[in-house]
Amino acid sequence: MNFEDKEFRGLLESIRYTYGYDFTDYAEASVRRRINHFMNFKKITALNELEGMILKDEKLFESFIQELSVTVTEMFRDPAFYKSLRENAIKRLATYPFIKVWIAGCATGEEVYSIAILLKEEGLLNRSVIYATDINQKSLQVAREAVYPVENMQSYTINYQKAGGTNSFSEYYKSKYNSVMFDKSLKQNIVFSPHNLAVDKSFNEFQLIICRNVLIYFNQQLQNKVIQLFHESLCPFGLLGLGNKESLLFSEKRMNFDEVDRKEKIFIKNS
């Protein structure tokens, strides 16, 4: 299946107009692939047919949005990133009496609880607030519940240890049937809330912003805009952590950051 540029653009425009979701500045290849996937699954053969259907049927649109927003995540993904945070960020964060962290594009929350565990082990969680945001309401609901499949715990435990974890990972959750629930004490200082990086504004000032594997889904223009937003939302010498293959290369603000860890993509705002 294949579809022409104009129709594709038209679809994204009418979604934006009708539902307020703006995918027009997303990296196209990936959006096209997800749309293809959705159409195959729903046995829809033409793009204009899809457009007609999702504009009429809000339920269908909701499942379409689920398909478009990629929720794939894990705990302590790229353990070396977390290790580097321990080594390079914690000391700086500890100098603040009150620490505000923003995790943007938090998906189903695995990353959020990883950060909460790290802050707890470093003795900073009780004076931190973590704002965890995403565009996807369903993912946020999963994140709030903090219930995950038990079969993931084995690989998460390995990640946790590689990330420099100092405890036994299983202390942080209780198993029940085929799921585990993460400890309430981790949740106390977390605020989950919807926020769309493509359209919403800055809402606070942070000492640390983490946004991993979200920017890769945006085109250069939107990446640039979002980095601008992060710059605005960081305190002086605030820290920014990106995904392993993301950089500030295309950002007009790149001179306003220094590298703290080049490989692990941790930056500090210098001006």
Partner: protein, 193 residues
């Protein structure tokens, strides 16, 4: 040898188990000025972030590099998909990465690269499937073929793991079945035309 009426713009290659050896054997035969960009998905572990590139560069006279996000595709370069991300190609001939779910148990997946490359390059694309023990890339080969591109599979007799080229061949989307040495000669000749 097949006569080419069309000027190809890019080559995509998929390899899995046994791929390091096969890729090395192929890449070492290319001259330093080999023009067409080669874009490679080799299934790999995410624990070793750059080793594959280093090993291949030591064998290959053309520049080998791991793809950076949003990088522009240039001639005379071998691009390797980074571990743990899917690699896609945009209409403006830049790369995109995604961490969507695994496809055919793989990330990067050969199908994902091949299908997005076919959309952009259409009949100006060469797709090559090498050794492997799974069927990733078969759907992609079919798509490249349907878009008018040229499709090649390493001969299963030669491949260290024949399953992957066989799966591609079974789609009936493969135009040529060749040994690594023949593929190399073919590619070098194509660019001289």
């Amino acid at each position: 040898m097949l006569k080419t009426e069309q000027a190809y713009l890019a080559i995509v290659i998929g390899a899995s188990a046994g791929g390091l050896y096969a890729l090395s054997a192929l890449l070492e035969k290319l001259p330093a000025d080999f023009r067409l960009p080669l874009i490679v998905v080799q299934h790999r572990s995410k624990d070793h972030r750059e080793i594959l590139e280093e090993v291949l560069q030591s064998k290959c006279k053309v520049k080998v590099k791991q793809v950076d996000e949003k990088e522009r595709i240039e001639d005379n370069c071998v691009y390797i998909a980074p571990p743990d991300y899917h690699l896609l190609i945009e209409n403006d001939r830049t790369f995109s990465l995604s961490c969507d779910e695994y496809v055919r148990f793989s990330r990067p997946s050969i199908d994902v690269l091949f299908e997005s490359a076919a959309m952009v390059y259409r009949n100006k694309l060469i797709g090559i499937i090498l050794t492997g023990a799974n069927n990733d890339g078969a759907a992609g080969i079919k798509t490249i073929d349907a878009s008018g591109g040229l499709t090649i599979a390493q001969s299963p007799q030669e491949a260290q793991f024949p399953v992957m080229p066989e799966a591609a061949i079974n789609t009936k989307g493969v135009k040529q079945i060749r040994s690594i040495a023949e593929i190399a000669t073919f590619l070098v000749n194509i660019q001289d035309e």
